[in-house]
Amino acid sequence: MTEDDFRKEMEMAKQNYEQIEIPKELGEMVAKTLDKYGYETREEQERKEETAKRGKVIQMRERKKRSFGKTAGIAAACAVFCFTAGLNISPAFAEEVSKVPGLSAVSKVLTFRSYSFSDGDKTIDVNVPQVQADGDYTEQVNEEIQRIVSDYQTRANADIAAYKEAFLATGGTEEEFAAKDIQVKVDYDVKCETEEILSLVLTGWEDWNASTAVMEYYNISLADDSEITLEDLLGENYIQTANEQIQEQIAADDSGLFFTPEEGGFTTITEDTNFYINQAGNPVIVFQKYEIAAGAAGMPEFEIVK
C-alpha cells in the first residue's frame, strides 16, 4: 500500500469518526452539569447585564408588543408579566420578588432555562419554560415540554445533517454551508397569565426551512392543577359554539384565502383542536398553515367569545 493510499484511508477513517452519532441527551447533560457549577451561558450573562440597568425590565414588556387594557384586573396581569420577565433574567431578582407579600404566589409560576450552543453547522438557542407550581399535572407538563424540546433538537440535528449532506453532494463547500449560519430556536410565548390560569405556546423553528416549525399549546389551570379544555371554557356544547363562530368569521372574511369545505376547508373542530387563552380569558382556536386556508393566510386564529 502506497503512502498516498494510506493517507486516503486515514482520511476516510476520520470521516467515519465524524459520523459517530451524537445522542440528543448530550447537550442537555452538558448544560445541566455546567449549570450546577454556576456556569452562565453568554445569553444569561447578557440578560444579567440588562437587569443591572433596571429600567430595561419595562422595555421587555414593550418588546413583546402586548396591548393591555385599562381595567384593574388586566393591569394586574401586566404587573405579573413584568415580574415574570424580571424573574427570568436573574435568580437573585426572583428571590427578591418572591419575598414581596402578595406577589409571591404569581411570580413563582413561570421561569425558564435557556442555553445555546453551536457546532459549526448551526446555532441552537433554547428557552425552555418551566411551570413552577406544585402538582402532578404541572409536573407532567414540564416533563412533556422537556421531551418535546429534546425531540425537536434531535430532529433539527438530523434535518440539518441531511441538508448538509445534500448540499455538499451537489457541489457546495463546508465554508459555504457554515456561512449559512443556520439557526434553530426553541422559545415560548405567554398568552395569558393570572393567578388561576397559565396559557403558553411553545414554538420551535429552523430558519432555513419553515416546514420544520412546531407549536405546542398548554392551557393550565393553576388553581386546580389540571388542563383547561375547550369544554371547560365554552361548556358542554363547545364544538357547536366554536364551529358556529368560526363559520361566521370565515363567512365575514373577504380575503378569499379560506378553502371551501369541498376544497378541504373548515368543517369542524374536535376535542384536540389547538387553542390558547387570550387576555380576555377567551379561547383562541389556531389552525395550522394550509390546514383550512392558503399559505398566505398563515396560521388562522379565531377568538371564540363565551
Binding site: F6, E9, M12, E18, P23, L26, T33, Y39
Partner: protein, 168 residues
Amino acid sequence: MEQERKSREAVQRIGDYVSENQERFYRLAFSYVREQQAALDIVQNAIVKALEHSEQLRQTEYMKTWFYRILVNESLNYIKKAQREEPREPEQMARLAETEAPEESEEIHEMVLGLPEEMKTVVMLRFYEDMKLEDIARVTGENLSKVKYRLYTGLEKLRKAMGKEAAT
C-alpha cells in the same frame, strides 16, 4: 474575594470551551467504550473533574490539552473499571465481536478502534483531532519520543492490517 472571582472566571472559560466542543468529546469517549450511556458518563465525569480542579487551569492556551488529558484518563479508567467489575459482560462480548467483523465502509476506522489503547489514543488525537505531537505528549503525559514511537507503531499496524485486507 479575588480568589472567588478567579475561580468564577475559570468556570466560565471551561464552560464556554466545553459547550463548544462537547460533540468532539463525546466522539472520542465513544471510540473507547462504544456505548452511548458509557460515553455520556465519561464526558460528564470529565466536565465535573475539570470544573472541580479549575484552579489547575492557569493558561488558556493549555485548555485543550488539559481538558483532553482529563477526558482520555476518564475513558481509560472507565474501561479498566468495567473490565475489573464485569470481565465477561455479554454486551462487551458483543462489542468485541463487532470489532472483529466490521462493516465494509468502517473498516479503517474499526481498525483504529481495535488498536491497543495507548496507540489508539495517539492515533486518534493525531488524525481525528488534528493535534500536534507536542500537544499529544501533554495529553498523555509522556515525552515526545514515546508519543512518536506509539504513533508510528500504531500506523505500522494499521498499514499492515490494511495490506492484508487488500490482499484478500
